[in-house]
Amino acid sequence: MSIVGSTTEELLGQLASGDVSCVELTSAYLDQIAARDPEVQAFLRYDRDDALRQAERIDAKRQSGQPLGKLAGLPVAVKDNMCTKGQPTTCASRMLEDFVPPYDAHVVTRLKEADAVLMGRANLDEFAMGSSTENSAFQVTRNPHNAEFAPGGSSGGSAAAVGAGMTPLALGSDTGGSIRQPASFCGVVGMKPTYGRVSRYGLVAFASSLDQIGPLAGDVTGTARLLEVIAGHDARDSTCVDLPVPEYTQSLNEPLSGLTIGIAAEHFAEGLDPEVESTVRSALDVYTSLGATVKEISLPHSRYAVATYYVVAPCEASSNLARYDGVHYGFRAESFENMIDMYATTRGEGFGDEVKRRIMVGTYALSAGYYDAYYLKALKVRRLIREDFDRAFADVDVIASPVTPTPAFKIGSLVDDPLAMYLQDLYTLSANLAGIPGISIPAGTSSGGLPIGLQLLAPAFEEERLLRAARMFEQESE
């Protein structure tokens, strides 16, 4: 059996039985990176020697009979907005090109404790702002299924790396769909956990009340395994919830009996690509054949989700990114007149267009006299959106929908149309506004040969239900 292309469970089995060493396994993925990444460009940085050293350590640990972590020997790519001690964490921005954090993000600590091999740093839209990974200051990542097409974003590097078989697992972050949309475009599984399920400590903030780190993998089981490792309480993040973490992999293969799936008319409205719609409807047929009931629900405020999101997220972003001023760390402009000019020039040169656009929108919306009309209003609508879900989940167990209105689009086709780009998140960003978990699983392929995903949403902290529901579909389509 070849290593690249195997599932995480198969790989763990081979490692445990001694059929393959961690060094052999890591080498195979490094070879795959060497073969595929010049085209895909998913990795901003990877260090072959460093990865092999980690692998050697894990092999040694196994040979000496020491207990091993849940990911023992599995490579994981990390989106380049999660701090890793002593290694650059750039957020794909010139602003942080040379920034080396003195500490590990909570999730990075968890990966190390679980004996994962940190493979390298995945590309992203600058500061996670975008839906195509074209906003990276350093390189454009390509869709592994067709290099002319975008991998989605902002976790495009993570999704493309998994999709191209360059790593079995990756971490992404999802603020409005940034894990689920690229997972869908690249034909992999990606999950945004409940807000508060995974510590954000060490995740460079974009929009603090929406950001959540999540797993990407080739299959649902790998996704569940990675979530098991990163989820759980961390006292360093006040918004991280202290609830026990179920062993998702244990219950995963038990089908949910009497499953009721909600579908909202709002998710099948104008602008939805017919191939995407038919893929989602076929998936629903699969569930029906497994004994599930499909029920119509209504999410009346979901039509305000894009508007709400594009007030809340830029407002928080304008505040979170204000610290990049050239004073204490990061990029500083070469020449400037005085202190104020240093701020302006540094930020003008250090940020890309999309980041500047959002900072300006957020700054404007928070200005005196506009706060009530924009930010406060957006918070009120956000509550209505959450209440829509509360009502819906009183009747159904999960909600099924498309992940995106279309399959992957061509690179360059939306860069001059920010609004069209924002509409990419139409079906995904409600989950961030409501704080609920969502998953994207491969459900079909377009006539153009591009993957199409299915999105499932569940109530807060029902990741176990979400993963089991996803696994039911996956098992049936295997």
């Binding site: 954090p101 929009a207 603090s208 006040s238 918004t239 505040s319 760390y329 007149e337 202190m339 930010y375």
Partner: protein, 497 residues
């Protein structure tokens, strides 16, 4: 025409917590070692997140209660956004529209005027900024920033514009400082910047026809001594009156904004600062990294129950319990909680408040001043002093003897309380200071002395009252610890016979 000065004070108080407000860094004044008390959180590094220090919040709620404020059951954190090199996140975590406490008051005794009640609009908690070591000439290139102070907890207490003179402002600040001392909330060390003050000042001009005109409000920033507050108020009152008489400009006129001025302590003048118009929009935003704090009425009550006695209550209690004058009580209570506790123990031990007050405010205070130490470092413990004074009260030793013992105890420096008691007895024994109550022994000595000094006895009989002095001295030289009063009485009786 006459005018009233109208003053509101905003006081920033650094809280005495072990660690900073949102991270684990130590909270200590340490300008000699810049940037040594920092971590990713207070440096505002990418990815770092704040976590609230509960100790700081608890101290703040205590202060709010002591200021008679309503404590909010729901309070949240907001980001106050502005760019400055000493603010690495480019926002300060503060409280904007829902402070943890509001609508209170503090009563302060104003000299020659009685008690003044000063309204408190709000008290809220926020993080302090770092400190810039300035040199803007190089466009910021030659400036340095020390972030040791960055993120330390700061309590901002805002009064109503209730103060009407520099003396009232001083009285309010003195009482506030004392209250914070009793609460153990802050050391209020103004040299180290743990208490800083901004004053909002304007005038109400009263015309003879009963009209009233308000002059534009001026905020004088960063007053770092109480003396500075007083001087700035008086200086502003004169300056504003002159300007009003010149220009007639008043509050509410078109183009009149609140003016911000600095205080030059060397020249004792206020000076105009760059207009704040540009910087005045702080774009407040509820901090999404921190969860709101909720307190139940029971929890607030629990904190209230655990509060210490406030200075005003203690003054009242001391004057009743120990029958002291208002002056004595103030002298004791205003020295701070430790000193008042010391006094109370001494008074309880010796059973005589007046005696304890005299010793504490005179003998003890004099030594403290000479040694420049606080009562906590005073070598004679309260129980020891109380025990010593109890002997005076019980007529076992004289006040003069007690001073001798006191002086010797001072020499021996900090001694164990039980050892101190033994030492007191030992000194009295060694020096024979115990008052001789055995009149038999005294009687013999008195008779001997009288027999040898018949001339003096005659002089006394013939009306020379002063003649008896040397006789008393002679008896007391013979019998150490004899009570002069008793000796005098015995001498008079015997001469009269």
């Amino acid at each position: 025409m006459h005018h009233t000065i109208v003053i509101g004070l905003e006081t920033h108080v650094q809280l005495l917590t072990k660690s900073k407000l949102f991270c684990g860094c130590v909270n200590r004044f340490n300008p000699e070692n810049p940037n040594t008390q920092t971590c990713p959180v207070c440096l505002g590094l990418p990815g770092s997140l704040p976590v609230m220090n509960r100790e700081a919040f608890l101290l703040s709620v205590k202060t709010g209660l002591a200021l008679n404020c309503d404590i909010s059951q729901f309070t949240k954190w907001d980001r106050k956004q502005y760019y400055y090199p000493d603010l690495p996140k480019a926002y300060q975590i503060s409280q904007y529209d829902l402070p943890f406490s509001h609508d209170g008051f503090l009563e302060a005794e104003v000299e020659g005027q009685g008690v003044k009640r000063v309204g408190i609009i709000r008290a809220h908690l926020e993080e302090d900024a770092g400190k810039n070591m300035h040199d803007e000439t190089g466009g910021g290139r030659d400036s340095h920033v020390d972030l040791n102070r960055c993120g330390t907890p700061l309590l901002e207490i805002v009064t109503e514009p209730d103060l009407r003179s520099a003396a009232e402002a001083k009285a309010y600040l003195d009482e506030l400082k004392l209250l914070l001392n009793y609460l153990g909330v802050s050391d209020c060390n103004m040299q180290e910047g743990s208490l800083r003050c901004d004053a909002n000042i304007n005038l109400h001009i009263h015309g003879d026809d009963g009209s009233k005109i308000a002059t534009p409000i001026v905020e004088v920033k960063n007053l770092n001594s109480f003396r500075g507050v007083e001087q700035a108020i008086d200086y502003e009152a004169n300056r504003q009156l002159e300007i009003y008489e010149e220009t007639g400009r008043k509050l509410g006129d078109p183009g009149v904004h609140k003016e911000t001025r600095g205080w030059d302590a060397n020249r004792s003048v206020t000076f105009g600062q760059r207009s704040k118009e540009e910087a005045s929009d702080y774009r407040y935003l509820p901090d999404p990294d921190l969860v709101p704090i909720t307190l139940t009425a029971d929890e607030i009550d629990e904190i209230r129950q655990a509060l210490c006695e406030f200075p005003a209550d203690r003054r009242r209690r001391f004057s009743e319990a120990f029958e002291l004058s208002a002056y004595d009580v103030s002298v004791i209570v205003n020295q701070g909680a430790e000193f008042a506790n010391y006094f109370e123990t001494v008074a309880a031990e010796c059973g005589d408040g007046k005696q304890a007050a005299n010793w504490c405010t005179q003998d003890v205070q004099r030594e403290l001043n000479e040694r420049s130490v606080a009562i906590g470092e005073f070598p004679i413990g309260a129980v020891a002093l109380g025990t010593l004074l109890a002997k005076v009260v019980a007529n076992e030793i004289t006040t003069k003897s007690a001073r001798e013992v006191f002086a010797e105890l001072l020499e021996s420096e900090a001694i164990e309380p039980t050892a101190a008691l033994a030492q007191i007895d030992q000194i009295i024994e060694e020096r024979g200071l115990a008052i001789v109550s055995d009149t038999g022994e005294l009687e013999g000595v008195v008779e001997t002395v009288l027999a040898g000094n018949q001339k003096i006895a005659d002089d006394f009989r013939s009306g020379k009252q002063g003649a008896i002095g040397p006789l008393i001295g002679q008896v007391m030289r013979e019998v150490k610890g004899a009570d002069a009063k008793v000796v005098r009485q015995m001498l008079i009786e015997k001469i009269g016979k």
